[in-house]
């Protein structure tokens, strides 16, 4: 394929210098992920999966090596530009949902949109997204603390999608959910992938990984 991959990592290393000795959380990872792929990342605890996701998600920059998102080397970007990239090009779904406790479900979804556009949405797009993940207007008026885990994760999915990101990053999205709710969330991610979105997901669960086109296995900071 000639087109630039959505994500390209070349020999990425992440070293945490600790008094007890350096921790090589990522030890020379190279990978390409094409637009529209659904990739699962698996590996034992402490193998470096979250660290890898943080590099891809522009929350962190590698100690060495290059990370390109849509062709752009993130090592060359300022904090301001990285933040803008996170806001506009990446949607995050976390294991712990990570909704903003001060805002209602609706406002949580609206927030990244307002940050980006500097104006409030009047097209009904926010509620339409919430409807598509099964949160009606009445439920959307609740604060995260008043929602179940499954409901919170649906809101988080809607929030991740609101700025039409190129990439959807999910770090154990079903880790805190029961199996029925997990299936619903996975169906949702599969549907989003079918609609053309690139999805990268960390999981411990083989049954969850089977939704993905491809599985990357990590061991001790390297691709196994």
């Amino acid at each position: 394929m000639d087109s630039t991959p959505v994500i390209a990592l070349v020999d990425v290393r992440k070293i945490y210098p600790l008094l007890s000795g350096d921790v090589h959380a990522l030890d020379g990872v190279s990978l390409r992920i094409e637009k529209g792929e659904f990739v699962a990342i698996m590996g034992p605890s402490g193998s470096g999966k979250s660290t890898l996701m943080n590099q891809i998600g522009c929350l962190d920059v590698p100690t060495s090596g290059t990370v390109r998102i849509e062709g752009q080397d993130i090592g060359l970007l300022s904090d301001f530009d990285l933040t803008a990239l996170r806001r506009d090009s990446i949607g995050y779904i976390f294991q712990k949902f990570n909704l903003i406790p001060l805002l209602t479900a609706y406002e949580n979804v609206e927030y990244p949109l307002v940050l980006k556009d500097r104006t409030y949405d009047t097209s009904g797009r926010v509620q339409a997204l919430l409807d598509s993940v099964g949160i009606d207007a009445a439920l959307a008026a609740h604060r995260p603390a008043e929602l179940s885990g499954g409901q919170q994760q649906r809101v988080a999915v809607a929030r991740a999608l609101v700025n039409e990101p190129a990439i959807l990053l999910c770090d154990e999205p079903t880790g805190n959910l029961d199996s029925k709710t997990s299936t619903q969330i996975m169906e949702m991610l599969a549907r989003l992938n079918r609609e053309g979105r690139t999805v990268i997901m960390v999981t411990h669960d083989e049954s969850t990984a089977k939704y993905a086109d491809r599985t990357i296995r990590i061991q001790d900071g390297r691709i196994a």
């Binding site: 943080n54 998600g57 929350l59 962190d60 904090d79 301001f80 933040t83 803008a84 996170r86 806001r87 506009d88 995050y92 976390f94 990570n98 909704l99 903003i100 406790p101 001060l102 805002l103 927030y111 990244p112 307002v114 940050l115 980006k116 409030y120 009047t122 929030r159 700025n163």
Partner: protein, 405 residues
């Protein structure tokens, strides 16, 4: 539908969620603003009322012997018979010179002494003044009775009336039996109108006698304590002053000529010192407020580390995090300062009435400006105290912050 800045909304939510904590922090600012504004208003009202009182005598020059230049030579009559008599005084020659130099101004001389007085069963000290009959009727105004026509008659100031319960017809004894001058009893024939503070003559708590009585009792004829010059036109005051100085201080400095501006300056500077001191104390209350805001903001940042991590990870800029916390401090500051302003109007009004005795200058610009000034100082202090915690919040690493529990 126009909704406010989303960052600002987050700040408002945070203040509302921690309402008690925010209110307690704002309380410090309220107290600080009330203290600053009230003290400023008291000072302004005092200055304004003193200025007003003094400006009534702004056209008056007071001429006294210049102690440095050795005014009148001790005349044979003064002979040091009384302990107060070795003061410098002006002579009748000098008085004539002043009168000539002052042109059309009304010029009169004043004798003055301090002496013991006794009436009924109470006694105390008072200033005893004497002047020409002509000057008395020109300068002083009676609210009751008439000016003295014999040496045993006097008029008295309203403060003495109040203090000793004297009325027209009362007898007052001047002096002490054991003294050289002995004790003389006089009769009050009139009560003076209140003049307030002034530099030329403080008649409110004085006894005004005839010239004959005064020189008879204290000797020192033609040895005047001071000469007052009432200038017709206030714009001429400097000219007259110079003319007197030129004419009398030719060879050596015989006299000192003062106008009310000097007295005003010295009162203002005294008031200024007292005000600065009081403001310094009020400043401490603002310092305490600043510390409490700082504390509350640090708590808010610490409590919300995880939330900051979420906000940063989904694309909130550092400067937006900074703004969020500065807004939070500003909301507390503005609300606190607003309440402080309202309270300082109420408290200030009461305190100014109590301490200055009048609220007629309360809404004057110099007085009322202290309220917005106090408000701005309070609000600015709040924002400044919030800057460091906000900066700390904005510097947090998103990954570390997300990991926090």
């Amino acid at each position: 539908m126009k909704k406010p800045d989303i960052i600002f909304q987050l700040s408002v939510r945070s203040v509302r969620l921690n309402l008690l904590r925010s209110v307690l922090a704002a309380l410090g600012i309220v107290i600080g603003v009330v203290a600053i504004a009230s003290i400023g208003m008291i000072s302004a009202n005092m200055t304004l009322s003193v200025t007003e009182e003094l400006s009534a005598t702004a056209n008056i020059l007071v001429v006294t012997a210049d102690s440095g230049g050795g005014g009148g030579e001790p005349g044979p009559g003064s002979g040091g018979s009384s302990s107060d008599d070795d003061e410098d005084y002006l002579t009748s020659d000098q008085f004539d010179d002043i009168r000539k130099a002052a042109g059309s101004s009304f010029v009169y001389y004043l004798y003055s002494e301090s002496d013991r007085i006794e009436t009924g069963d109470s006694s105390g000290h008072a200033t005893i003044y004497a002047m020409e009959d002509e000057a008395m009727t020109e300068i002083l105004t009676l609210t009751e009775g008439s000016f003295p026509s014999t040496t045993s008659q006097v008029v008295i100031g309203p403060d003495l009336v109040e203090r000793y319960g004297i009325e027209v017809g009362s007898k007052v004894s001047i002096g002490d039996e054991d003294d050289d001058e002995g004790e003389t009893t006089v009769r009050v024939t009139g009560i003076l109108e209140e003049r307030g503070m002034s530099m030329d003559i403080n008649s409110d708590s004085a006894i005004i006698t005839t010239e004959k009585f005064f020189t008879g009792r204290y000797d020192g004829e033609d040895e005047y304590s001071q000469v007052n010059v009432v200038v017709d036109d206030i714009d001429e005051i400097d000219t007259v002053k110079e003319s007197i100085e030129d004419s009398l201080n030719k060879k050596e400095n015989e006299v000192k000529v003062e106008d009310s501006s000097r007295m005003l300056d010295s009162i203002s500077s005294t008031l200024g010192t007292i005000t600065s001191f009081a403001l310094a104390i009020a400043g401490i209350s603002l310092l305490v407020a600043a510390v409490s805001i700082f504390n509350v903001m640090m708590m808010s940042v610490t409590e919300r580390i995880r939330e900051i991590g979420i906000l940063r990870s989904i694309g909130t800029q550092k400067n937006e995090i900074l703004r969020m916390f500065v807004y939070e401090a500003a909301i507390i500051g503005v609300v606190g300062a607003g309440i402080g302003a309202i309270l300082s109007l109420i408290i200030g009004y009461v305190v100014v009435f109590g301490m200055v005795g009048t609220t007629e200058y309360f809404f004057a610009w110099d007085s009322i400006i202290n309220v917005p000034e106090g408000m701005i100082i309070g609000a600015v202090i709040c924002v400044v105290s919030g800057v460091y915690p906000a900066w700390r919040a904005s510097k947090l690493d998103p990954i570390d912050a997300l990991r926090a529990e």
